[in-house]
Symmetry: C2
Subunit: 376 residues, 2 copies
């Protein structure tokens, strides 16, 4: 994997780049649609490519491990062959899901025991096992097994947790170094900076992570309920420490506003369930602001959802028709809104990239933030 | 509207034809995907056209009247403009839904009062009102308001009911003759033959319907639980009476086997929720037989769903991946299975049409029936 920086904004830490993987190039800054169980909900793989212009999608180790399981994924020749998405894929390590979804979890030095949220079956994740699972799944970028602290979190818990995450990181790297790709292409491990909202912990964690000299680095444990100011402060601090020549991935972020602000702080990669989850509830992110399509206001609006975007879902269907579908709980409503929101997110990061390249990012960002956060 | 017969099978009553409407041609025999509320569930309009090769879809007066309502549909310029499906559309009259979905219904000579299944609001349908609603909706083919008898049904109830349906038909025709299309194109009214499974009632009803000299005729009140033999016997009887130079539409039928058998009896048009509803439960109709994709048997089957069909959903995704999606209740599972099943249904009627034209329908039909009904 190779990361090339192609432009640096002069008025912010924003930068543009290209991340080369064996499944293709990723133009950064980039947003990664979330396909938890190997499917971006309500979206066909063809639509991801042709309509949304996704360059990389994210899947989840915890979910894929439980179903369909590593045996079938290995037999298929890896996740790309299983789901037919032949461009880059990143898998989250499952750390966050073990804490947020699984029951009866017990964290120890060696690893975590938990019960499946699906059938209550007992499982045991260690850093080594999570690396092995991700070898079987076969994503291009795989994440270290960490503990994601909740918010709020007391200082001592956060301190012990970040230290455990660091010891686990060493074990993850050792396991990666002593094993090989199972599907014939390179897999890059991204370590994760933790430390909650405590400056000194974030600093130490960023320094430790940077010293591991992996091919990219991630910031975890943010967008878990803390004020935006804290998210931005921690992101800014960590970005100032993580090496500039490696891609930086801010996990689980966020709103269009969050993404623009964090691009300005030097982040290159984002993922979030928001565009798809909120789509299923009728919330649309558009180039003019946020629409709750269930509102009476849109009932007779026969204009396209968002003509600026030029994609099928955003231009073919009207707001009134989409509202009718969402109110009637028609599956097509979720489909249209999901494609639309993802198209918008990918359009937004692509616009940011262009503005960075042209040298006009800072002004554009301020205008855009005020636009994308307003409620229509 | 004009119906041209292009071929007649010599060993059965099967025939091929072309139905010309102002929204395009329909090659018969044809299957019409059901889009109850103006959306074929889990399928984009683009997919209906490009992947499924649908030529006409069906919507429902009862549902569209309740939501979004005729005011909005008129404002949009009719259903085609509202949902973006610019090919032919047929609306069922809502008779069946008033009996199957609505609460507190009371049937009288003048019309039916009922409560909405959505919000319990009270409504009143008369034959005249249902014609007016269908004028507002603007389908190319609209159905008479009838009473659809349940199965089993005692003789006297069926007799009184079919007589009421006939009196209502006269009122529907009068209303159609005294009103005009609201959206600038022709709307054809199809009367409906009723009479449950009683030969004499079906005969009288078919004769009455035929004498009305409308542009097409329909057979209702079948596929409501009666044995297949009764369905075929009634269909055969009615087809022998309905004029050969008008299209014949068998409402709500059915399985692939039912469709092939009824094409052989002289039916030209079909609709059924089965391909989409069963898709959402993981049942696939394929060129080799019926698959319950939830079965363990398909867990590791990495072959395409049905390569014969050649469409995106049927060839791009594997059975194992589709099974994974269905087991995980991923929306994409419903999407793939729905497109696949509809593609199969349209493929089946198109094959039938070709065989009729080539003169080999009867032999092909028998082989195909034994194939399409077997469980894989």
């Amino acid at each position: 994997m190779k990361f090339e920086r192609t432009a640096q904004d002069l008025k912010s830490a924003a930068r543009a780049g290209v991340l080369h993987t064996e499944h293709g190039e990723i133009q950064t800054p980039i947003f990664m649609p979330v396909g938890t169980a190997g499917s971006v909900k309500a979206v066909h793989q063809r639509e991801l490519e042709t309509d949304i212009h996704a360059q990389i999608i994210l899947s989840n180790t915890y979910h894929l491990y439980l179903r369909p399981g590593t045996e079938l994924l290995e037999k298929a020749g890896g996740i790309h062959r299983f789901n037919g998405w032949n461009k880059p894929i990143l898998t989250d390590s499952g750390g966050y899901q073990v804490y947020s979804l699984a029951a009866n979890r017990k964290i120890a030095e060696e690893g975590v025991t938990f019960k499946s949220h699906i059938d209550g079956s007992k499982h045991y994740f260690t850093p080594e096992k999570v690396m092995d699972i991700q070898r079987s799944i076969g994503a291009d970028i795989i994440m270290a097994f960490d503990e994601c602290t909740p918010y709020p979190c007391d200082y001592n818990y956060a301190k012990n947790s970040v230290e455990l995450t660091h010891r686990w990181l060493t074990r993850c790297i050792d396991r990666m170094n002593s094993t090989q790709s199972k599907h014939g292409y390179e897999q890059a491990l991204f370590p994760i900076v933790q430390g909650s909202v405590f400056k000194d912990l974030r600093e130490r964690s960023a320094e430790f992570v940077a010293s591991q000299n992996q091919q990219g680095n991630a910031i975890g444990g943010l967008s878990v309920g803390e004020p935006h100011e804290d998210m931005y402060a921690m992101t800014s601090l960590v970005c100032s420490i993580l090496p500039a020549d490696k891609p930086r991935y801010l996990m689980g972020v966020g709103t269009p506003e969050n993404i623009l602000e964090c691009i300005a702080l030097g982040v290159d990669m984002f993922d979030c369930v928001m565009p798809t989850r909120n789509a299923r509830n009728g919330m649309l992110f558009t180039t003019e602001g946020i629409i709750n399509i269930r509102n009476e206001k849109w009932k007779e609006d026969l204009t396209p959802i968002d003509p600026i975007l030029g994609s099928y879902a955003s231009t073919f269907y009207s707001k009134a028709y989409l509202r009718h579908l969402v109110i009637n709980k028609e599956i097509l409503g979720a489909q249209i809104a999901s494609i639309h929101n993802l198209t918008f997110y990918l359009w937004l990061v692509n616009q940011a990239r262009q503005k960075i390249t042209e040298g006009s990012f800072a002004t554009w960002k301020d205008e855009m933030v005020s636009k994308v956060k307003r409620r229509l």
